[in-house]
Amino acid sequence: DAMVIQNPRYQVTQFGKPVTLSCSQTLNHNVMYWYQQKSSQAPKLLFHYYDKDFNNEADTPDNFQSRRPNTSFCFLDIRSPGLGDAAMYLCATSRTAARGAMNTEAFFGQGTRLTVV
C-alpha cells in the first residue's frame, strides 16, 4: 500500500501558468520534503516542513512556494513555470522525535513528472 502518494503522476502545464502538485501521506510523519530532480541529476531539496514550520533552502527560487494545511498533506505551488522547471518533483516524509534529533528513514512518493510547454 502506497504510504506517500503524489498527484498527479504526470502534469503538463503551459509556460507561465500556475500549477500545484500535491502530496499526501498515511505515515503520520512530522517532516515533509519537496525535492526537484532534473534529468540525470541528483534530487535537490527545495524546502521542507518540520510540523508546521516551513524551511526554505537558500537557493530555492521565489517561484516555488509550499503549503501544508495539515499533517497529511503538502502542496508545491509553482507560480509561473518556466521551461527550466520541467523536472520530476519528489515528495518525501520522515519522523523526527525532536528538533535536532536523528531522523528515521525518509520515504519517497512516486513523483510527479512536470512538463512545461
Partner: protein, 110 residues
Amino acid sequence: ELKVEQNPLFLSMQEGKNYTIYCNYSTTSDRLYWYRQDPGKSLESLFVLLSNGAVKQEGRLMASLDTKARLSTLHITAAVHDLSATYFCAAGRGAQKLVFGQGTRLTINP
C-alpha cells in the same frame, strides 16, 4: 556545508561479476542512506546506516559505513541484469536535511 560524492558515476559490468560503489561525504553525518532509482521512477529505499561499522545486506547488495573515513560502500555480488539502475547515496546531518550524491548509473550486461 555537507557535500556527498559518489564514484564511479557510470558503471558497466557483466553479469556474475562483483563491484563496489563508493560514497564519500565531507562533514560529520549522523545517517547514510542508499536508494535505487529506475528510469522515470521514484527512489526506492535500500539501506539506512546509522552507526560506525554498520553493515547491512539484502540479496546481492551489501552496504557498509565507516564514519571515521566518512565513507560508505555499496557492494554488488554476482551481479544480475535486474540490478541495472541508478544508485544514490544520501547523507544527513541535523534534524531534517538529506544531501544526495550525484548517482551511479549501473548497467549490467548479460
